[in-house]
């Protein structure tokens, strides 16, 4: 019927308003409508009917892997998939240009971009290397005005970019910046003042410069749609009164993570306004002034008890442990607890953790010692993710945690899926034990902080421990190794690490063989980051068959030469091969300080700084 026809046409031109990438209930009726035999239906374009059907079906495809597969079936599928993709994920912002992305995917609602490689976080890459958000925001502003959500990781975002974001997308709802930099409080001020529909503003581990602008006051007056406000990484004071008013007029607020400039007294006032919170970052968790002893302390315990929905707790940026008992009422509900800024002892931890039976995610400092970890193991039977960070991140400092705590965790927390553990000493036995006790491990990152440190009991390399991990943990996709490791460890990884996608190597291996084992043995390898290991050009060449399947390869302070890298560049035209040196160094010899290479549809980027040479 003609009416039906024109309905469908309309839908193809404007974006469906209810479109989201998890479900699309409104569309099902159309599927039945056009397919269930309306015999008087006169369609001059049967293909169009098929395309409509396809469109409706493809809306249900959410996994990007499935979508990529679907787009390869034929031109028609490619086209329709592109039209129906609402969330666009680009794991390396230089793999594809903004123009190309917006040309293909015109109806994108959510953009997820990643920039710098992870080792840039550890000062291994000079600043101003790249990963600028600017060309992206400009391209999307022109081509995809329905963009509502932007998630960026390790990108440089300027104040102007934030302004453009707020001004170009009328319905903009969510901004999440993880490990980003380049902007300041002025940019935030402009952004929040213009985004009237803002639901989510999450600033996570980002560097925000203090332009002394009161951005909290810039949220528009009247009821706000805010559901999540995370600014615990913002290292500048905020206008508390304005924040309090904002929280009071945000009835949908579920996630609030405060920075360390919010005192515990101020926290109390906010909690009283927002007992509906599910995620809370407590700010400093200490009083603002040393003086004022005579003043009555608010009833923190009651405030916490009133937050019946609280499941995720973090903050404690300048904790005074005397106040810890305030959180007792909610321990039993917690599924996630982040104490990684709280320098507390085992004794201070125990009364808390012994009540956290439902805990699944726990981040903590090694100040709790092996004893603290034993307490965790005794109670947290549902633990899925554990991260233990060092208070004193140096190679030769005392190690409050060791294989003892590590093994205790493996014995108590059998459902463990992800572990990040910094320590000074470890044994193969403990690592082997974990490989057996925790077969569900997907992420295993062990950082023995002393370089080349062997098993401290046997004096042996840590090969067998990591070997056991790849052998026994059949679901492992991410691995970070450390300690004294010979080529044997990498032989194990190549042989058994069939699902490994991300591998981090530092100060390990004896020869090129190690890298060869990995490049030849791990078919799923996508991200490989290596530093200070004796791998040279020959090893690099052994991966030619695989580099197009990878997102990137990083090698710094290894044994690569310009010649070797040049060979790769010549052999693989779709690979961008960047040689990065320190800005103050002249190009002296043939040695390559840092190699960063990645597949790309665009060829060499045009925004590379002087210290980057693209071969």
């Amino acid at each position: 019927m003609a009416e039906q026809m024109s309905d469908d046409d309309e839908r193809q031109q404007s974006p469906p308003s209810d479109l989201d990438f998890t479900s699309n209930k409104a569309r099902t009726c159309i599927v039945t409508g056009s397919v269930s035999g309306h015999t008087e239906f006169q369609s001059p374009y049967p293909d169009q009917v098929l395309e409509n059907v396809l469109e409706n079906v493809l809306h249900f495809l959410t996994s990007r892997r499935d979508r990529n597969s679907a787009s390869l079936v034929c031109k028609s599928w490619y086209r329709v998939e592109a039209l129906t993709r609402s969330e666009l994920f680009i794991g390396n912002c230089y793999a594809v240009s903004p123009t190309r992305a917006t040309a293909r995917f015109t109806r994108v609602r959510a953009l997820h971009l990643k920039g710098r490689p992870r080792f840039a976080d550890f000062n291994l890459m000079p600043p101003d290397w790249g990963a600028h958000f600017n060309p992206w925001v400009l391209a999307f502003a022109k081509a995809c005005p329905w963009l509502e959500k932007v998630y960026l990781k390790r990108m440089s975002v300027t104040d102007d970019d934030l302004a453009t974001l707020a001004e170009s997308f009328l319905g903009f709802k969510e901004l999440v910046l993880v490990c980003c930099d380049g902007f300041g409080t002025s940019g935030l001020a402009i952004f929040v003042s213009k985004c009237r529909q803002l639901k989510v503003l999450d600033l996570i581990e980002s560097e925000v410069s203090d332009d002394e602008t009161d951005w909290i006051s810039c949220f528009p007056e009247g009821e706000s749609h805010l559901e999540s406000l995370i600014f615990d990484c913002v290292e500048c004071p905020i206008n508390f009164e304005a924040l309090e008013r904002l929280v009071a007029r945000s009835p949908s607020l579920k996630k609030l993570r405060l920075n360390r400039y919010v005192s515990i007294g101020q926290l109390y006032r906010l909690m009283v306004q927002a007992p509906q919170l599910t995620h809370l970052g407590t700010g400093s968790f200490s009083p603002s002034e040393i003086a004022g002893q005579g003043d009555q302390e608010p009833d923190y315990v009651t405030a916490f008890a009133a937050c019946k929905s609280l499941v995720c707790l973090s903050g404690f940026r300048e904790i005074i442990p005397d106040y810890l008992p305030a959180i007792y009422p909610i321990c039993a509900n917690l599924t996630s607890l982040n104490f990684s800024y709280a320098n507390i002892t085992a004794e201070q931890l125990k009364p808390i953790i012994s009540n956290c039976h439902k805990l699944q995610v726990f981040w903590v400092l090694d100040s709790i010692c092996d004893e603290g970890l034993q307490a965790v193991a005794a109670t947290c039977k549902e633990l899925r993710e554990l991260r233990v960070f060092p208070v004193d991140a140096r190679e030769d400092s005392d190690g409050p945690v060791s294989e003892v705590g590590f093994q205790a965790i493996s014995e108590g927390c059998r459902k463990l899926q992800s572990i990040l553990y910094f320590c000074q000493r470890m044994t193969n036995a403990a690592v082997i034990a974990m490989s057996r006790n925790c077969p569900d491990l997907v992420v295993f990152r062990l950082c023995i902080m002393g370089r080349h440190r062997p098993d401290h009991v046997t004096g042996e390399p840590m090969d067998d421990g990591f070997g056991a991990i790849v052998m026994n943990c059949k679901k492992l996709t991410r691995l970070a190794v450390s300690g004294l490791l010979t080529d044997k460890a990498f032989d194990y990884i190549g042989r058994y690490g069939k699902l490994v996608r991300t591998l981090s190597v530092a100060f390990a291996g004896d020869s090129d063989m190690a890298l060869k084992y990995v490049l030849e043995g791990c078919p799923q390898l996508q991200k490989l980051e290596i530093r200070d290991s004796p791998f040279g050009d020959a090893a690099l060449c052994s991966g030619l068959h695989h580099y197009y399947n990878m997102r990137f390869l990083w090698m710094s302070s290894c044994r690569l030469t310009h010649q070797g890298c040049q060979q790769i560049a010549r052999a693989m035209p779709r690979l961008v091969v960047e040689v990065i040196r320190s800005p103050d160094e002249e190009e002296m010899d043939d040695c390559v300080q840092t190699l960063y290479m990645y597949r790309s549809l665009e060829g060499p980027r045009n925004d590379a700084p002087k210290f980057v040479t693209i071969l």
């Binding site: 550890f122 991140a393 190679e395 030769d396």
Partner: protein, 208 residues
């Protein structure tokens, strides 16, 4: 990352000054400018409080290159720190207080600097660092105004604005309390400081 931080916070119209020498670094005075992971660079735990060694005004108020550099600088880690190792993110300074940046103005200087009070443990360290930072300027003035005697240089009184907006002499209160309450620093020419309304009598005697 650390050096990047330093650069960004510098408010300067450096002009013909020797930029390298006066460059703000996030480190104790005397330490080399190694780019290293923030946590590692700043050395071991800094929680202890030193008794304030109020030798500030023993001989004079002058801000000159410190004799006390050895005392002031905490001994660096025994091993050379490797860049970016262990891989703990620099700006996630866990378990330790993060930066407390305050602006430092020097009378007569055309630019402001910022210092992070958190990296010092005592007045001694702070003042030595300020001497380093502004030594160039001091020397310049000394060259221009030949009547200043070689030993003393120009005399400056270190003052600060506290939370209540009052201007106080640096050294009045215990170090930690000073760090908490200091909003900005000003190295005032001694001649101008005479009229300064002081909340409490300074613990050290004025000079000369």
């Amino acid at each position: 990352m650390s050096s990047e931080n330093g650069k960004r916070l510098l408010e300067t119209d450096a002009g013909c000054l020797n930029f390298e020498a006066t460059e703000l670094t996030l480190g104790l005075p005397g330490e080399p400018r190694v780019t290293s992971d923030g946590g590692a660079k700043l050395g071991s735990k800094r929680g202890f409080s030193e008794t304030v060694d109020l030798k500030l005004g023993d001989n004079s108020q002058e801000v000159k290159l410190g004799h006390s550099l050895q005392e002031a600088a905490k001994s660096p880690a025994s091993k050379t720190q490797v860049v970016g190792w262990p891989p703990v993110r620099g700006f996630a300074k866990r378990g330790k207080k993060s930066c407390k940046y305050v602006k430092v103005a020097v009378d007569g200087a055309p630019y402001l600097r910022k210092v992070d009070l958190e990296i010092y443990n005592s007045y001694q360290q702070l003042l030595t660092s300020l001497e380093d930072m502004f030594s160039c300027f001091t020397i310049r003035n000394y060259l221009n105004e030949k009547q200043i005697d070689q030993v003393n240089g120009i005399e400056y009184m270190p003052t600060y604005e506290d939370k209540d907006g009052d201007w106080m002499l640096v050294g009045d209160v215990p170090w930690q309390m000073f760090v908490e309450s200091c909003k900005r620093l000003r190295l005032m020419k001694s001649s101008e400081a005479v009229g300064l309304g002081l909340k409490t009598a300074p613990k050290y005697s004025s000079t000369n």
